[in-house]
Amino acid sequence: MMANPENANSEKLREIAKTLRLDVLDMTTKARSGHPSSCFSSVEIVTVLYFGGILKYRPLDPWWPERDRFIMSKGHAAPLLYAALARAGYFEVEKLLTLRQLNSPLQGHPIQRLVPGVEATTGSLGQGLSIGIGHVLGGRLKGLDYRVYVLLGDGECEEGQIWEAAMAAAHFKTSNLTAILDYNKYQETGPISREMNLEPLVEKWKSFGWYVTEVDGHNIEDLIKSFSEVTNIDDRPQIIIAHTVKGKGVSFIEADYRFHGKALTEEQAEKARKEILCN
């Protein structure tokens, strides 16, 4: 697939988002573990990247040197990454239901290249952005003009390595690096503002030398606009701070941190499935 946001059809993308939510729901319910609510807040972001003409990639040639890179730094959203890769044609959709099972490559958190399209090992938080910078520097040395996208969790930004990387990205003027911050406002044990306040986030990233833009992280059209907007920045890395809702799409888990890292029961999943289909 080549990058071409012009052709993106919002209605179709909303349908894909629905499919990915259902995939995540089925996978984590079957595995009886995982982080569905952390996946749900990122669904539209990942949908737009893979299916909205933002990323250029070749599912059957997953390590094509000129591909754009997508690094899922918030590794606990692995089910969403797997679902997007399967739906994009990297591997069979049926495999998704082997998540977290013995002998399946679909590990609870992603392992680099164990699954076609998985660029980095993540799960211990804070590591993806640095790896993304390495991809930028590598592309620069090889004269390739691919872009690198890194999806960060908000709680993840409490890790010191994120700020080491933020500093280095600006220093190396990584203008083809875009971070997306899934700002769903909750970390494992509670609201971020209560547990470890990240604000003022926009000012922090700006002062580290990044171009910062904010967006409703569930609005397909606005996300496409933001991804287009940042490609015009040619002198520094960019971050899209996407305001999202943890558990988005399933009313009874939305914005409820107690569902972090919890799969839904069969009964809850049935209810959730109906809600997702009706949305």
Binding site: P65, I111, Q112, R113, E119, A120, T121, T122, G123, S124, G126, Q127, L129, S130, I131, G132, I133, G134, H135, V136, L137, G138, G139, L141, K142, G160, Q161, E164, A165, M167, A168, H171
Partner: protein, 322 residues
């Protein structure tokens, strides 16, 4: 006293200079090598590369986690990154990044820890890598190399580039004498060298302890004890064959390393021999303590890691043979 003086070894050369020169030579031969520095290039001598190939040299600053992560990204693009800093800072500060981004991902990255052991001396215990071998030993997939002289250092740098997968090279701050002659030495990862052969006891060492073992062998020889010295330059994959053969041949083993005796070279040798061919063993190394600022040889003496401590351990273990 100089290392290797008793054994009549050729004059020493600072290992970091050898490392810097070897890395530069490697960069001249291979365009896929990149060097990542944690702002210590002037101390590790990785800066030799910076002066000649500035585009392939990245100072990531004083941020080891990010240093390792960026190296992992470059490796994913097909480059072979040499990630260089003090051993203690890399292993202790960036352990999780070494674990996820390199070891678990099993990528083709090389990590070089300088200033391993206690002989960096005056900078004191905060800078000393006394636990680095134990820590890297906890990362499956890493090959672990501890060169013992300028020739094995250069060989380690080149062999690490040819090996596909994570490699850790540890060097010490002190100058080390030449044990080998480049022309008639064959270096192979996982194959220990035997710079001296003997019958009564085997001293297994790595790093500076190999030339110290050779010094100790001369003293022991004067006392009528014939010593085999095994240079265990590769701690993983460990050379089971040479270790077992040495245990069978001499019936007693002394392990000597510039590291805590816990989890380093000696622990690994003991694990192999206890399974395959148990013989009396003794261990020369740092015993459950941090050390202090001083001259390197003062430290080796005070903390019972001197040549004479190796001699003592050898005599003791021979008595234990019964």
């Amino acid at each position: 006293m100089q290392l290797g003086e008793k054994a009549g070894l050729k004059p020493s050369k600072p290992m970091r200079d050898v490392f810097g020169e070897s890395l530069l030579e490697l960069c001249k031969k291979r365009e896929d090598i990149v060097v990542l520095d944690g702002d210590l290039g002037n101390s590790t001598k990785a800066e030799y590369v910076r002066n000649v190939f500035p585009e392939r040299f990245f100072n990531i600053g004083i941020a080891e986690s990010n240093l390792v992560g960026i190296g992992a990204g470059l490796a994913a693009c097909g480059f072979i990154p040499y990630i260089v800093s003090f051993s203690s800072f890399l292993l202790c500060n960036a352990y999780d990044q070494l674990r996820l981004s390199i070891a678990l991902s099993n990528i083709n990255a090389k990590v070089v820890g300088s200033h391993g052991g206690i002989t960096l001396g005056k900078d004191g215990p905060t800078q000393m890598g006394i636990e680095d071998l134990a820590l890297v030993g906890g990362l499956p997939t890493f090959v672990i190399l501890v060169p013992s002289d300028p020739v094995t250092m250069k060989a380690s740098v080149f062999a690490s580039a040819d090996h596909k997968g994570p490699v850790f090279i540890r060097s010490s701050r002190v100058a080390m004498p030449y044990i080998y002659d480049e022309k008639n030495m064959s270096f192979q990862i996982g194959k220990a060298l035997i710079p001296r052969d003997g019958e009564d006891v085997t001293i297994v060492g790595c790093g500076i302890m190999v030339s110290m073992a050779l010094d100790a062998s001369v003293i022991l020889d004067e006392r009528g004890i014939s010593v085999r010295v095994v240079d265990l330059h590769t701690i993983r994959p460990i050379d089971v064959e040479t270790l077992v053969e040495s245990a069978k041949k001499t019936g007693a083993i002394v392990c000597a390393e510039e590291h805590l005796i816990h989890g380093g070279m000696g622990s690994n040798v003991a694990r192999i021999l206890s399974e395959k061919n148990p013989v009396p063993m003794r261990f020369v190394g740092l015993r459950d303590t941090y050390v202090e600022s001083a001259e390197p040889f003062q430290l080796l003496e005070k903390y019972n890691m001197s040549t004479m401590d190796i001699v003592k351990a050898a005599e003791e273990v021979i008595r234990a043979k019964g």
